[in-house]
Structure formats: structure tokens, C-alpha cells
């Protein structure tokens, strides 16, 4: 229990790593389950809360890029290991962009980011049958500010348990 709580705090800190002090709320609230595990204290293994708290549910991208950055690979590796631990779990990889582009281009960019994260997981041994991808472009930001910090948090691919 204590381990998991620590893990959750660490994950929250990671999500807010590139944000100014008051952005952590936006970042943790953004995933499908957000910080719900923190509040309840009960994290079901193999759940979204588990993924967020103990693995990290998202990878970040550079502006206009859909290559998984070197510093994001570790997250994908943890996700692949976690998915190996819970073989019944199916996930959707949601691709997103920041707000500094046009809607249609960002929809395509989000899809390409989602595909890149999916391909990364497949390369790490996850069956592609367990993975689907959907893009929301700039239309579902995790951080709601109009700052470079918020944009960095929004250029992301989020793995969400179905």
C-alpha cells in the first residue's frame, strides 16, 4: 500500500515535471482515471489507476514531431512490461497535440503520434491485437493553459485501459 502511494506521488511528479507549480492538477486530472487512485487509496492491479500510478500512462513529443523521444522510451518499456503482466488487458492509445496548430493537421498528427507509441509497444512484444489508436488532435488538452509548459504536456500519447 505504502509502495503504491509513493508510486502514485512519483507519477504525479513526473507528469508535472515540465510544468510550473500549479499545473500538476491539470496534468493528473487528464488521464482517463486521473488521480482517482490517490484519493481512494485502493488501486486495482491491471487497472488504469494502476497504470497511471505505477507505470506512467503517457509519453510526450516534441513540437510537430511524432517520434518517441529517447527520454520517453523508458515509459513505453514499463508499459510493455505491465501489459505483459496483465495479458487480458486491452488498451487504446490516444494521440494528442498542443493547441498551436490547425484542427485537421493536429488530428492527423495525433494519429501519427498514437501510431508511433503503438508501434513502440508492438516492437517491445505487445500483441497489436490488444492495441487500438484514436486521435483527438488538439481537442482534448490535458493542461488547459496557453503556455509552453501546457503545450509540452499536451503533445502526448496516452495509453488507456479499455
Amino acid at each position: 500500500m505504502q509502495m503504491k502511494l509513493l508510486g502514485a506521488l512519483a507519477a504525479a511528479a513526473l507528469l508535472a515535471a515540465c510544468a510550473s507549480e500549479d499545473n500538476s492538477g491539470a496534468a493528473t486530472g487528464a488521464g482517463a482515471a486521473g488521480g482517482a487512485g490517490l484519493a481512494s487509496g485502493a488501486v486495482r492491479p491491471g487497472s488504469q489507476e494502476d497504470l497511471v500510478a505505477n507505470v506512467g500512462d503517457r509519453v510526450f513529443f516534441d513540437t510537430d514531431s511524432s517520434s518517441v523521444r529517447g527520454d520517453q522510451r523508458a515509459t513505453l518499456e514499463r508499459q510493455a512490461g505491465w501489459l505483459g503482466q496483465y495479458p487480458q488487458v486491452q488498451v487504446v492509445v490516444e494521440g494528442h497535440s498542443d493547441e498551436r496548430g490547425t484542427r485537421e493537421y493536429n488530428l492527423a498528427l495525433g494519429q501519427r503520434r498514437g501510431n508511433a507509441a503503438r508501434d513502440g509497444l508492438v516492437a517491445l512484444g505487445v500483441s497489436s491485437a490488444r492495441l487500438s489508436v484514436v486521435s483527438y488532435g488538439k481537442d482534448r488538452p490535458a493542461a488547459l493553459g496557453s503556455t509552453p509548459d501546457a503545450w509540452a504536456q499536451n503533445r502526448r500519447a496516452v495509453t488507456v485501459v479499455r
Partner: protein
């Protein structure tokens, strides 16, 4: 002298044509007043933009007369719609009503031109409105004050509920008689109505008259809808729906209210636009690492791939003659505009200014392509010729995109977003605007909620 026209749903498409029939009082004179009577045939020149900016036509619009209280009310309502349309175009200046000397009732009988000349009116619109059971008869005349000539006289009968459309049709007749090019008032705009917090927005298809009236929602918000575009017959809309969490291009039928997926193609489909003949939809589809342009035949639902240049190719838009397609691609490293043959070959880049270019849309006149430019951290809406020359930025700000042309190619609608002031997104908004392609007269369109992705219909009664 008068021509009588019935307006019904079935007949309305013919209405403008009929209205232009035998009653053209002094066409040569009207044309002489118009700065660019030649239209697109005369080399793509629109109205002289300096004149448009500095010298809108002063026009007097006394309330249409009526023989009873309800008739007068109808007359006032119609006159108000026409006056707003003409004023909002930026090309007319309705003369201050307090200055009117002759009464509306008297003017509807026989204008005393001296009374209108002395208050500076160059044109005068008079009319009568008569409710007849569930129908209305509306008669109007357009006068040129200086020559004391009637330029147009037309009577319409229509379902009483259609009085707004009559007012728009009359506005279009006035616009065309005075300016020598077709109007755009009898049109609608389909767009995305947005509500709720920005990370969990509800996005619904919505439609309204171009002046914001007759607003209604077309989808209930269960699934996110984006990027609607009118069919050239104005009865159908192509848009992107997240139905079943699978973002695909859908078709919405305005007559039946039904929607259907365009096709179950492999991968996300987005950014649809109809071909000018209405028989196919051009769109983008992301498969693997690339997004390419495809055209889908509406009858067979078969797709044909048009691009394979690498990178993300999105936002295709046909030239009005259907022979070319402009689109947006980052194949060269960043987003630029490219034009290719409608069959897929001959792709060439046309944007070479500072910044990234996106959301190109071809003018219905064929003479211009409107676009979004992102440069130096700011967004702008601009136009350029189809060969990329003559670029002009019409409006700039924090964020704006998605221009759409009025059917006469003279006005653009687009959406403008404001910057969030705090980390909760406070201060963010998205609103529709219109601007003259000469870069003046930008106005916000009032909508019930935040609004994005406008698409302008063709003329409904053409």
C-alpha cells in the same frame, strides 16, 4: 410592372432566377454604377477594394408598409433583416432613419425623390407586406434616387413562416442590382457548437442562417462532431464524427436528419469536402505514419488514393471547376500548401511566405485560395492566388483558422480563439467571425455557445 413570384420549398430554388426576370428597369445604368460589373470573367477582379472600404452605398430602407397592425409588424421585421444584411456587408450604409422626410406609407405609394436625395440616399427600397392567412405577400421596389428610376420590382408570396428567407432573397436582389455581382444573404452556415470545459467539450453539429437566426442543433452531443462541409446542393453535410470512438467521415442529410458513415475505410478519415459536382468526397486518411488524400465516389463508395508523397496530407479543397485540388502537407518539413491535378498528379507547392500554412479553401469564384498562416507565434487568415502570388493576410491574432467562402467569394467566415489566461483555461473562447476579402469589416457572429469550423452554404434559392 410587377412580377409575381410564389415561394415554396419546391420553388424556392428557382426564386432568385425568376425574380430577375423581365423587370430589370435600367440594367445598363445599374451596371454603370457597379465598380466591377465584369465579375470573375473580367480577370478575377472583385469590387474595387478601396471604394468598398471608403465609400459604402448610402441606401434608405423605410419600413415596408402594411394595411393592418400585423402587416406593419411583418413589414418592419422584413425591413430590419434587409437593413442588417446590407449594413453587415460593409458595402452599404443604411441612411439614419431619423433623417427620413417622406413617410414609409407614402414612399411605398410613390417616392418623392427630392426627399430621399436631400438626405443623401443613393438608393431607396420601398415595399408592402400583406399577411394572407398562412401565407404572406411581400412586394418590394428598388429605386435609384438620382435618376428616379425603378431598378427592380418584385412581389413574392410565401408561407408566412418563410418571411426571413424572403427578406434574404430581397437583400440578394438589392446587392446584385447595385453591385453587379451575386449576393450571399440567402445562405446558411453549418458549424460546431462547443460547450463545457475544454478538456471535456461537447461538440455538436449546428446550423443557422448566415445572420445567426433560425439556429438549431443537428446532433445531440453524444458523439463529438467536427469539420462539417456543405454539399453543393446544400441538402447534405459531410463531417467527422467520433461515433463508437472511431473518428470517421459521416454524411448528414438535412432533409431526413439521418447520418451515415461514408465508408468503413482502414484508419481514421478526416477533413472531408465535396467535389463541385457533388458526386464525390475528397478527404484525408491516416494509415501508418502518413496521411494521404483520397477521393470517395458517393455512388459506389469506392476510394481512390490521390497522394503518396510522405508526411501528413490533409485539408483538401477542389477548385470550383473540379480540375485541381489544393491541400496542406508537411512533406517538405513543415506545413505548406500544394496544388495538384484532381486525378492526383502534378503536385506543386504554392506557399512560400513566412511561417506554416494550413486549411486551404478555394474561392467559389476560382480566383483566390484562403488559408490559415501560423507565423511568429500568431495565427492569421489570408488569401493568395492559386499560383501562390498576391498573398494578403486579412486578420491576425492569438489563434484563428478554418476560413470558408461565402458563395460569391466576397466574404470569409472563420473562427477565432482567445488565449487562456490561467492554467484552468479561464478566458478561452472560440467564436465565428466574418471578414471582407479586402480585409475590412471583420464582425463576430453571435452564437449560443462557443463556435468553430464554419462552412458556408451555396445560395439556397439559386
Amino acid at each position: 410592372m410587377n412580377q409575381s413570384v410564389r415561394v415554396d420549398a419546391a420553388l424556392s430554388r428557382r426564386l432568385a432566377l425568376l425574380g430577375f426576370g423581365s423587370l430589370l428597369g435600367l440594367p445598363s445604368l445599374a451596371r454603370a454604377q457597379a465598380p466591377a460589373a465584369g465579375g470573375p470573367a473580367a480577370g478575377g477582379q472583385v469590387i474595387d477594394i478601396t471604394r468598398a472600404r471608403t465609400d459604402p452605398i448610402p441606401i434608405a430602407l423605410p419600413d415596408f408598409a402594411g394595411s393592418s397592425g400585423p402587416a406593419q409588424q411583418l413589414g418592419q421585421n422584413i425591413t430590419r433583416v434587409i437593413t442588417n444584411n446590407l449594413r453587415n456587408s460593409g458595402l452599404f450604409r443604411p441612411v439614419e432613419r431619423a433623417a427620413y422626410i417622406q413617410t414609409p406609407e407614402a414612399a411605398a405609394g410613390s417616392p418623392r425623390f427630392q426627399d430621399w436625395r436631400v438626405i443623401g440616399a443613393q438608393a431607396l427600397v420601398t415595399g408592402r407586406a400583406e399577411p394572407q392567412g398562412d401565407r404572406s405577400r411581400i412586394e418590394f421596389r428598388l429605386w435609384e434616387v438620382g435618376s428616379e428610376q425603378q431598378l427592380q420590382g418584385t412581389a413574392y408570396t410565401a408561407n408566412a413562416a418563410n418571411w426571413r428567407q424572403i427578406a434574404h432573397v430581397i437583400s440578394d436582389v438589392i446587392y446584385e442590382r447595385m453591385l453587379g455581382e451575386k449576393g450571399y444573404f440567402d445562405t446558411r452556415i453549418v458549424y460546431i457548437a462547443e460547450s463545457g470545459p475544454r478538456d471535456r467539450r461537447t461538440r455538436r453539429l449546428a446550423i443557422m442562417d448566415q445572420d445567426g437566426e433560425n439556429h438549431r442543433f443537428l446532433t445531440d452531443g453524444t458523439f463529438q462532431a467536427l469539420t462539417p462541409r456543405f454539399h453543393p446542393n446544400a441538402r447534405q453535410i459531410a463531417f467527422m464524427s467520433y461515433n463508437n470512438n472511431q473518428p470517421r467521415v459521416y454524411l448528414f442529410n438535412l432533409d431526413s436528419g439521418r447520418q451515415e458513415v461514408l465508408g468503413n475505410f482502414n484508419g481514421m478519415t478526416l477533413s472531408p469536402r465535396f467535389s463541385p459536382d457533388g458526386r464525390s468526397v475528397v478527404l484525408s486518411s491516416v494509415r501508418g505514419g502518413d496521411a494521404n488524400i483520397y477521393v470517395v465516389d458517393l455512388a459506389s463508395r469506392r476510394e481512390r488514393q490521390l497522394t503518396s508523397g510522405g508526411g501528413l496530407d490533409v485539408s483538401p479543397s477542389y477548385s470550383p471547376d473540379g480540375t485541381q485540388i489544393v491541400f496542406n502537407s508537411d512533406r517538405g518539413g513543415d506545413q505548406q500548401l500544394y496544388v495538384m491535378d484532381a486525378g492526383g498528379g502534378g503536385s506543386r507547392r504554392i506557399s512560400f511566405g513566412n511561417g506554416r500554412y494550413a486549411t486551404p479553401v478555394w474561392s467559389p469564384r476560382g480566383d483566390l485560395i484562403a488559408f490559415t498562416r501560423i507565423s511568429g507565434g500568431r495565427f492569421g487568415i489570408g488569401v493568395m492566388r492559386p499560383d501562390g502570388s498576391g498573398e494578403r493576410i486579412l486578420s491576425e491574432g492569438w489563434a484563428m483558422e478554418s476560413p470558408t467562402f461565402a458563395p460569391n467569394g466576397r466574404v470569409l467566415a472563420f473562427y477565432r480563439e482567445s488565449q487562456a489566461r490561467d492554467t484552468r483555461g479561464g478566458g478561452y473562447s472560440a467564436r465565428l467571425s466574418m471578414i471582407d476579402i479586402a480585409g475590412f469589416n471583420e464582425r463576430q457572429i453571435v452564437t449560443p455557445t462557443d463556435a468553430t469550423d464554419p462552412s458556408w452554404s451555396p445560395l439556397l434559392s439559386s
